[in-house]
Symmetry: C2
Subunit: 491 residues, 2 copies
């Protein structure tokens, strides 16, 4: 089907009916409680044939959809598979056309019964004009409207996530705030029996609340349409895609998971080449890439300065950047002379990477090194790697000097450096983006500070990564997107 704008009220419903609502504690899927916990401001109608007239979570329960006294904007169904078709007939009778079906046991089961049931579902949907999300999914999560089938809600933001997997959708919702990513819409659409990823994509393309579109998909019915659509959307909103079932083993698993036919690897390679969509291969990559798109201004050239150290770390960081498609060029003669004028030669490297580990705790040296790197015309962006060893040692000295605890000294030293970075980024006279790597080795000594430090940097608009691998891979993808995009816009 093509996108039906009548579905859009489901993203901001005034009324939600929960079919299969129950008072028993559930391992999963108490959707009345989810809505209540989320602070949904509309009206919730619990539906349960056995609980008619009773109360569920303090709300009057109804025996079926037809008995609900007002129009229903969204139906959430969590009932046994064999009860789904009669429920859909009720939906038609009640004129409730927007439905999300949590229930599994359809095409993904791989057996004839399940496949037949899904075909029947499609037939009823077509006849009744039903707009169905799922089955075998977690449905819609919209922070701005306070609707969710999960238990947590964060503030709204510009990132949408369409996921064939409810699990991936759920973990993304949990993890996103740590990366400074806030959400417009998350859509878990499972078997895609009626509304497919392409339909949602069409909607998000023009959704003013969505600026970045993330997708986890296992299969798609109309590859040609997906290609045209993603290529078009990419011109204005980056599309970041995690293709599940990209390998032979994964494709076999995907067939059992959502009944998807994954398609050939070559077909997907061609898809990414033609559309310029950002390809990520897992959850961490998805989150790191999305954070990069959220916080950095467009960048079309790949020459980075690596500042931090020490020596082995600098070599490792250069290797990692190279593998991620970034270039770590030697500084110009002028920059090297400038750096050499205030950085002692011994135990340092000033050619790019800059290893100034053991002098960098003089914040003035650090700032001048950052300035000189950013000023070099052969540099497009600066990656600052905070070396744990230096902070540890400096904290040891501070501790004995100020008689504070080690953790206080660690925090003070770390903050000194990070505040310097925030100030440097805010002034940013050379207009070169800055990203920061905070290694777990350091954060381990600051257990209480870990998230706070990340959040402070993110609030200052600086992407922060937990390893140089993650930083360089995300940055590489970001730059390749903008290089492609520049060409695409010239089409």
């Amino acid at each position: 089907m093509a996108w039906n704008p009548e579905f859009e009220i489901a993203f901001n419903p005034k009324t939600v009916a929960v079919v299969g609502a129950t008072r028993k504690p559930l391992l999963f899927g108490d959707f009345v409680a989810s809505l209540q916990n989320a602070g949904f401001p509309g009206r919730i109608y619990p539906i349960n044939i056995n609980a008619a007239g009773e109360e569920i979570h303090g709300l009057k329960a109804y025996p079926n959809l037809v008995s609900v006294p007002e129009p229903i904007d969204l139906v959430t169904a969590s009932i046994p598979a064999q009860a789904i078709i009669p429920m859909l007939e009720d939906c038609i009778a009640a004129n409730a056309k927007n439905i999300q079906i949590y229930t599994a046991g359809f095409r993904e089961s791989g057996d004839e019964k399940g496949i037949a049931l899904e075909e029947k579902l499609q037939e009823v949907a077509k006849r009744g004009g039903l707009r169905i999300v799922g089955p075998n999914c977690m449905g819609l999560h919209v922070p701005a409207s306070r609707i969710t089938t999960w238990t947590m809600l964060d503030e709204p933001g510009p990132v949408a996530f369409i996921a064939q997997s409810g699990g991936h959708a759920g973990v993304f919702i949990i993890d996103a705030p740590d990366y400074g990513i806030h959400l417009s819409k998350v859509i878990s659409y499972g078997n895609a029996a009626v509304i497919d990823s392409i339909d949602f994509l069409e909607y998000l393309a023009t959704d003013p609340e969505t600026q970045i579109i993330c997708i986890y998909l296992e299969g798609v019915r109309d590859g040609g349409r997906l290609t045209t659509l993603v290529r078009e959307i990419n011109k204005t909103k980056p599309v970041i895609i995690w293709k599940g079932g990209a390998t032979e083993s994964g494709a076999r698993a995907a067939a059992s998971h959502t009944g998807a036919l994954g398609g050939e690897r070559e077909v997907w390679d061609a898809f990414f080449k033609q559309t310029g969509a950002v390809r990520v291969d897992g959850r961490e990559e998805l989150l790191n890439a999305t954070m990069t798109f959220r916080y950095l201004c467009p960048l079309v050239s790949n020459r980075v300065a690596l500042v931090g150290g020490g020596g082995g770390n600098s070599v490792a960081a250069a290797d990692v950047c190279d593998r991620a498609g970034l270039n770590v060029p030697p500084f110009s003669e002028k920059t090297r002379r400038e750096l050499g004028s205030f950085i002692p030669r011994q135990g340092t490297i000033i050619r790019n990477p800059i290893d100034i580990a053991f002098v960098m705790l003089d914040v003035n040296v650090l700032v001048r090194a950052m300035e000189a790197s950013a000023a070099d015309p052969s540099i497009d962006a600066v990656i600052f790697i905070l070396p744990p060893g230096v902070i540890l040692l400096a904290a040891g000295i501070l501790q004995s000097k100020e008689k504070c605890t080690f953790e206080e000294a660690m925090e003070k030293q770390t903050r000194l450096v990070l505040d310097t970075m925030i100030k440097f980024d805010r002034e940013n006279i050379h207009r070169k983006p800055l990203v920061i790597v905070l290694q777990p080795g350091l954060l381990r000594f600051l257990p209480g500070q870990r998230e706070r430090l990340r959040q402070e940097l993110l609030k200052a608009g600086i992407p922060v990564y937990l390893s140089i691998e993650r930083a360089s891979r995300a940055l590489g993808k970001f730059i390749r997107y903008h290089q492609f995009h520049r060409i695409l816009r010239a089409d």
Copy 2:
């Protein structure tokens, strides 16, 4: 030079002289304090021309090496570069032949003066028969002898690490215990002006305390000898190598770091192919691979069962395993029938991967699924992925049932599953190795338990990884090593 066994006393010295000892608080390199903190049981002689007759950290200071009243087994030097040559002449006069030089400012500086100084150092060493580690290094770290230039000491163990980078050596020492890795010797050898990685490798090949050898190197002088040696050692002790400066950018940084000429990428590719050494590309890979070698029995076939879930996770895990060179074959018909007899069809996958997320909290179901997977003749090893969502939900129910705190409920549920795994692994009637993936998404809800859970599993002999990527990559490398090794032994 070839390995000189007279150096070996330096790994277990009775006397250590610290040249450049000082009472001032140092940002780095208070090596008298390091030895004292480590509980070094021998005698420490602080040497400082300006502190003769005074005390440093409660020990009598001497003006030079010649005035020390007994033979010196190991000299640690941390003095300005220009003072190194006179100090070496003192070493010759005092017949102190084992020396580690912390000082930088030699070949790695890239300038003529530094290069000339290193050549002079080599000349003096040759004339005086001096066995020098460094310069520009952190020297020796031997937990069994309580000697170190660092500040931390762990219990001794069977893993050695030779590292051209002091920073990498230090972080490895800090991180290793988290991975259940305990150390025999860590050697940071910097510029390798006199003793090279190959010499240390020759020593470790026959060191009875070392069973696994890890190496970080940026360059090597005699590639042919390294190849022959590693190929030979690999027959009895796995050699795991992180080659720094493996890319163009990295090689440039390495030249500035230790003055190493990294060599062509093709040369190193050939090296790994010929020697069967385990290639790792960074710190995390090094640690995860080493843990795998430490805990798993040899394995020459790559067919894994993936147990855990949920659906999207299973697809992602299968993709990741495939990319890491593991095979995730469909279970046999018999296994599928067995699994189908007690696992409900709906919302589960039982073909491999097994997604039993929402029924697995019945520990009996979990154990039977593990048993059936391990019994399948087409399976060589089992990867269990603990799905965070399930534990979260089950903990929610447990909390309302038992009126405990959420963290208590989380811990109880997690322990229930992990204890089941430990029991399964101990009984292990099918003799198939088990590895466990604990995802950060779960551990975030168990901040106080994080390290304890990992350590308990490691103590039970089960390798535990923080992501399926890390687990599958380490396992892939481990299996390829043993496949190669079987052929090599047949030579």
